[in-house]
């Protein structure tokens, strides 16, 4: 090093420039470490990122109309949906050609159930027409034959739906998630008796906040005790916290049913003590109260554990010092102890909130009608109505809502302030 002069390039022993050799070695090292984490990276990509990306895409994907009725879609583009007239013979002829192929491939009923999400009755329209298509006269005229098969083919609305959902990408599912729909006049809110999703989103957020706050109120003193008591007692207490954590979720939820129902343990006890009359038993389950109680209990460990691990690191000498300097118990706690436990509160609150916002099984069992979450509707659309596009759109909105709250949280509290121990 010391004998280098300006303009002379440093080389390694085999004559390569030192800089390049160093970069090479570094790159090799990076590659090696990348290879080490490759299994995990690939695993995360395949099992986490890819499914989420796929789900996000499903919420706008709408290739089925163009794939099933390729000719119709092209000629229908020319049709003026505002004219109030049904399309002309050319469109019906294209529909005939497409449906003959679709019926052979048995894809027409699939398209029918897709479009039925937008307009009731299209499902049976396609099923019925599919049965009749073989008997139609190949020479035409097709319009009359289609009208004879089902008079719905003469409705402007049917064709409007078909035209509106012709493109391969659709905002329809997202509009639906916002309780809106496309009409001939543009985007409108649905009639009041069909609006449900925005309301459910609101309720999910509200109940999640209530559950997070009640977890915090109940969990904070317990975590404090756990951190403050001598090890032997606190270990015993810790087992009491963890025991329910290890018990099956369904068992705990069913146990709450037994406790809270109108002929249940708590009501029986209250009636026995004479606090309430037999006729005025409390309704504590199959409503919001039930959901809040059961979910607070189930999610409590997720609040206590991060709180505990943070409180464990707070040295008792700080509080002692504060007291020796003249602070009373409350001031010592509020000004000295509490600020140090905030990272634990942050971690616990984020954990409980995010878990509860996507919770599904407990609200389903104890929520009745007023205590169910948006996730229950998502589950319904995945497993029952098969409207996966709508489920994907609702899921995407939920994901966006969580991310946005996360950003807000970061702005207010700061994500660096979250500590799990």
């Amino acid at each position: 090093m010391s004998d280098t002069t300006d303009g002379q390039v440093l080389t390694t022993q085999d004559g390569k420039p030192l800089k390049a050799a160093l970069a090479n070695a570094l790159r090799r090292e990076k590659l090696r470490s990348l290879m080490l984490i490759a299994p995990l990276l690939i695993f995360v990509l395949i099992t986490f990122v890819a499914p989420i990306a796929d789900m996000l895409f499903r919420s706008v994907e709408n290739g089925i109309v163009a794939d099933t009725l390729p000719k119709t879609v092209v000629v229908l583009k020319e049709w003026d949906s505002g004219s109030g007239e049904t399309p002309d013979e050319e469109v019906y002829a294209a529909l005939y050609d497409d449906l003959v192929v679709a019926v052979d491939n048995k894809t027409h009923t699939r398209l029918g159930s897709r479009l039925n999400y937008e307009e009731s009755g299209i499902s049976s329209l396609f099923r019925k027409t599919g049965r009749r298509i073989k008997r139609m006269d190949e020479a035409g005229p097709f319009k009359d034959q289609f009208l004879a098969a089902d008079k719905k083919w003469g409705d402007v609305e049917t064709w409007q739906v078909l035209q509106r959902y012709s493109p391969r990408l659709t905002p329809g599912y997202f509009l639906n998630s916002f309780d809106a729909h496309q009409t001939a006049e543009g985007i409108e809110l649905k009639p009041a008796d069909q609006r449900i999703y925005m309301f459910l989103f609101g309720r999910t957020l509200f109940l999640s906040i209530v559950i997070t706050v009640s977890c915090l109120l109940l969990g904070y003193p317990i975590a404090y005790l756990l951190a403050a008591l001598p090890l032997r007692t606190s270990n015993l207490l810790m087992i009491l916290v963890l025991l329910p954590f290890w018990t099956s979720l369904l068992v705990r939820t069913s146990a709450w049913k037994v406790l809270l129902q109108q002929q249940g343990v708590i009501n029986d006890f209250l009636v026995w003590t004479g606090l309430i009359g037999d006729a005025s038993r409390l309704v504590m389950i199959n409503n919001q109260t039930g959901t809040i109680i059961a979910m607070t209990h189930i999610l409590l460990p997720f609040m206590i554990l991060p709180l505990y691990s943070v409180m464990k690191t707070i040295s008792p000498s700080y509080v002692r010092a504060a007291k020796s300097l003249g602070a009373n118990d409350w001031t010592a706690f509020w000004r000295v102890y509490f600020p140090q436990s905030v990272p634990g509160i942050g971690a616990g609150a984020v954990l409980v909130f995010i878990l509860s916002i996507g919770y599904y099984i407990t609200p389903e069992l104890v929520g009745g009608t007023s205590g169910i979450f948006i996730s229950n509707r998502i589950a319904y659309h995945i497993s029952s109505s098969l409207n996966w596009g709508l489920a994907a759109a609702l899921g995407t909105l939920l994901l966006v809502a969580v991310l946005m709250l996360f950003i807000v949280y970061d702005r207010i509290v700061g994500i660096d302030n979250v500590k799990l121990g």
Partner: protein, 366 residues
């Protein structure tokens, strides 16, 4: 080295042996007493006759539609025969996820030679559907309610009569059946129900009728909930599947009685997933032919109070396998029970389900 060769050869032999000798068939059903009745009546005798067949049960019928769609998209069908309700069978058929069958060639004729298509008759509601049982959704009520002063509900509209029959009711958390009952009790003739329900006013009328008891309803989503609620005295009347009530009354001896009025008939049966490989399909078809013949369907009624889907099975229904009571009077199809039945309109619900369900959910959350 030698050991390795032996192990490899052994494994290869085992694989060859298993594929040549034994076939695993995965059957999907609902679990519980119902699946047990299928095992007792269909598959146990079948595997006894065909020792090379192994039947594996999967209790996923409740999520069958979604799972079959996912399997289809993944291109790997792991189920061979799936038990679903008729409305799900129609949907699976529409989606191209279930295989179409020809009743007369794929299913056995009745002992007297009647072809299967006639023996099952109207119950073949979809090209893909192989009916097994007729069940009904009906009401059970507690027979020991003091407030009723000795009266007992005798007709469907007593559900809506809070003055004579006060107390909580349990209804299913979905519009199907509930809106029909509401309209029937609002004075709509039976044959008009679906025409009325097709209109906005008709739907509003149904919800208005349900509004009259809304505060007194516990909504259930699993068939086991109503029996539990009745046993716990949480509700005094509740709807559920008739087989569940049979178990509550006859097996658990609870003070509960059946209300056989405007009971809604529904069907349950098999579908064969589309896209099975040839060899597995052949085995499945053999099993289905056996499991849905006249005797097998009648045998099932020994274990559970659901009516066999074949007309020819009805006279063969005997006594309960363990309780020893006659099963015929407990069948939803028994003439005494089926005096006033309601037929569930599958095609109509396939069209209007999404629409009315959205309205129903909005109504529930108000």
């Amino acid at each position: 080295m030698k050991l390795k060769t032996v192990i490899l050869a052994g494994t290869a032999l085992a694989f060859a042996g298993s594929s040549a000798l034994a076939t695993d068939l995965t059957l999907v059903s609902w679990g519980g007493a119902y699946q047990a009745s299928q095992k007792n009546a269909y598959t146990d005798p079948y595997t006894a006759e065909n020792p090379d067949i192994t039947v594996i049960w999967d209790e996923s019928s409740a999520e069958a539609v979604a799972k079959l769609r996912a399997m289809n998209e993944a291109g790997n069908i792991t189920w061979d025969l799936v038990d679903v309700v008729a409305s799900d069978a129609i949907r699976l058929c529409d989606e191209g996820l279930a295989m179409e069958i020809n009743p007369d060639t794929d299913l056995d004729a009745a002992p007297d030679g009647t072809p299967a298509s006639e023996d099952f008759g109207d119950l073949l509601v979809s090209e893909c559907f192989i009916p097994q049982i007729v069940y009904s959704t009906t009401f059970g009520y507690r027979s020991d309610v003091e407030e009723w002063g000795g009266k007992e509900p005798t007709e469907i509209c007593d559900i809506f009569d809070l003055e004579t029959f006060p107390g909580k009711r349990s209804l299913e958390k979905r519009p199907i059946n509930n809106v029909e009952w509401a309209l029937l009790c609002d004075g709509v003739p039976k044959e008009e129900v679906y025409n009325v329900l097709e209109t906005e006013e008709g739907q509003a009328r149904a919800f208005a009728k349900l509004d009259t008891i809304k505060d007194n309803v516990v909504w259930w989503s699993a068939g086991a909930e109503t029996p539990q609620l009745l046993a716990d005295k949480e509700v005094v009347i509740g709807s559920t599947y008739n087989g569940r009530l049979f178990a509550l009354i006859e097996e658990q001896k609870q003070p509960v009685k059946m209300l056989w009025d405007a009971q809604v008939f529904d069907l349950d049966g098999w579908i064969i997933p589309a896209g099975l490989p040839e060899d597995r399909l052949a085995e499945v078809k053999k099993l289905v032919k056996y499991a849905t013949d006249t005797q097998r369907l009648a045998d099932q009624a020994k274990y559970i109070s659901y009516g066999p889907a074949r007309k020819s099975s009805a006279p063969l229904v005997g006594k309960h396998a363990t309780l020893g009571i006659d099963m015929a009077p407990h069948m939803p199809t028994d003439p005494n029970n089926a005096k006033n039945t309601f037929l569930y309109n599958y095609e109509w619900w396939a069209d209007y389900r999404d629409d009315i369900d959205a309205k129903f959910q909005a109504w529930l959350s108000q």
